[in-house]
Amino acid sequence: MSLELRGVRQSYGDVEVLHGVDLTGRPGEVLAVVGANGAGKSTLIRILAGAQRMTSGELRIDGERVDLRSPHDAHARGIRTVYQELSIVGGLSVTENLLMGAFPRRRGGLIDWPEAHRRARELLDSAGFGAIDPRVLAGRLSVARQQMVEIAKALAGEVKVLVLDEPSAVLAGSDLESLFALIRRLRERGVLVVYVSHRLAEVMELADSIVVIKDGLIIATTEPAKTSEAELIGLMAGRRLEQIYPARREPPAETRLEISGLSRRGEFEDISFELRAGEIVGLFGLVGSGRSEMARCVFGAEPATKGNGAYRSPAEAIAAGLALVTEDRKRSGLILGMTVLDNIALATMRENRRGPLIDAAGRRRRVTEMIDRLSIQPGRCATMPVGALSGGNQQKAVLAKWLLAGPRVLILDEPTRGVDMATRVDIYRMVDDLARQGLAVLLISSDLTEVLGATDRVLVMREGRLAGDLRSETTTEDEILAHAIGQAA
């Protein structure tokens, strides 16, 4: 079955993340999709899986226009998707996970267990994962094996298109070999395999054709024989010449934060770096590299297992002048049901008191000043629920909360994700101003252009370790990405 996307656009609110994607896949082809974080790969996958309805554009199957209404719809048409996040239910057996919703029944309606296990066995064998026992609890399996169960599950019934999102992220050695063997068998059977991965070596080995996606556009379509890993990295990083980042020229002053040998089991290891006053340091890493976890640990939100320099609790970090603007403002940055006033004043309630009571007039004045200074829109929003503001203005409200605390070190985790361009520019200007006033800023970002354009120095993390410390002036997006992927010379 051939699959075709034409002019696919996708917007979330005001932000368009896919700007007209064209893509063609033929039966019996392994089509690799590569791109940096935030390029639009996940959105593309969700559209193919029927989990997201495209804002505009069309999807054609064998030339016929199709509207995927739900994941169920996509499944029924033979399009199967295996996401990076596993959906295995650990408390159920492998058989139950594989046959969920489609158990063989005896007369009388009871589940026919011997038959169920036999079918599960068959499914695993045909996928080439014969080493997995269908009777064990799925939760007892290693993550790699769970991933294989997930893939086997997707292969039940008639499969025409198999979409794999970073399938190799948790696989290694012989498990990885089994996966590759399976993909090759599927290709021979005429299945279209859409293979989304960061790992370029695999892509070069497996793919028949490769598309590079960047900033919501397919910027190149090529084949392994006609390209190289280095060229792909160059394409993924790309170049944009927009004057959205203020020029950085401030000489760094005294050290504000010194982290050495910081580790947290299972998340990151042996991280050492310094932040100096007046300096903006970028922190780049692919999803899963441990950068947000490391920042949370420095701030005292999670305990470290080893190392020095991290604070023991957020209260201690705040007292020392740290501020952490977290990645997910809805989950950990804001209280959506409360007013803008309450939200912005949250971290400074104790400092602004008159006797036992909050100094209401003073609080209002300080918050209003901050609303004006950051030009949070609408301007008279202090008594509005913060959830009624747009994404960019919500982000500014989180920033305002921390600026009121008068920080000396500001950690920003993906401050511009889901934020419109105008607000982005505002945020870059403000961060630059703050650094000029002597703040040390750590800017965590998966946006290569941002991490290079808005900073003085870039730290790169890969698989929980610090993989590079580069001067923004002299490095390139290619070099940063190469460190993040592990291809650096």
Partner: protein
Amino acid sequence: MTGHIARIRTTRLIVGGRDITVTAAFVSLIVLLVAVAALTSDTFLTQTNLTNLLKQMVTTGLLAFGMLVVILTGGIDLSVGSMVAFSGILTAGLVTGLPIPVAMIIGVLSGVGFGLINGVLVSRFGLAAFVVTLASLTTIRGLAFVYSEVPIAPEDPAFFTLGSAMAGPIPVSTLIMLAVFAAGGVFLTRTPAGRSIVAIGGNAETVRLAGINVPRHVTLAYTISGACAGLAGVILASRVGIAQPSVGVAFELDAIAACVIGGASLAGGRGSTRATFGGVLVLVLINNLLNLYGVQSFWQQVLKGLIIIAVILVQRTNRVRG
């Protein structure tokens, strides 16, 4: 668009502590209840009935305020009815050996202690509030019976003062309850601790990352609820003149109902003292009316349940329409 505006308006009514604008429908419901009562019953407007009404709302009122504080954190306190029984019987038992005010303070402190234990179990050990307070419901009830299987009726008439004294036309106990609500309103809207409690119910992780000690504030909320229950128990024993270990069964339900009628969200983060007080009025008026009509007590329970659902539905529709 209308829906959008409506949402903003209700949220504002609830979050900022600026609950002066309690929905018109809610206020008219209370007025309606009073009007119906006054028109259909000769006894409603009599001095005796009104005084009774004012005294009856003290227990529900105190428990509802404590419950509101806990509900705001996203928790629940099912043990308040048992605390009422325990503090009452403890106080009545102690008055033979101790000065009455001291006995009463100890009664209130018993509630503080139980609340503190509830709070620590919920916040430090991360146990589910429902389970913890369900366990303390039965434990504390048991302790009340262990302390005295039979009711205790102190003879010293000074024991009755707290529950029966009048300040002009208004019972002193009612004034105490009103004072708790007034102070509670200021606490929840104007102090860092109160705002933190509301914020925790909204998003505990955000609050934690703002450097606020979440477990301590959650513990404080349960302690406040315990203190209110302890005080309610002492006042109730003093009013009735006799402390019974079996008193207060299902009182927690009225307290929760008052909060919910007042628009509090059981998920936490949303609720106001004024609206909860309105909820208390609605409940007490309904009880009083059904009594005046001579409705049989089992039917009273049925009717009360149905009326609560009706009131909440009206509140809901009202909120959606704005």
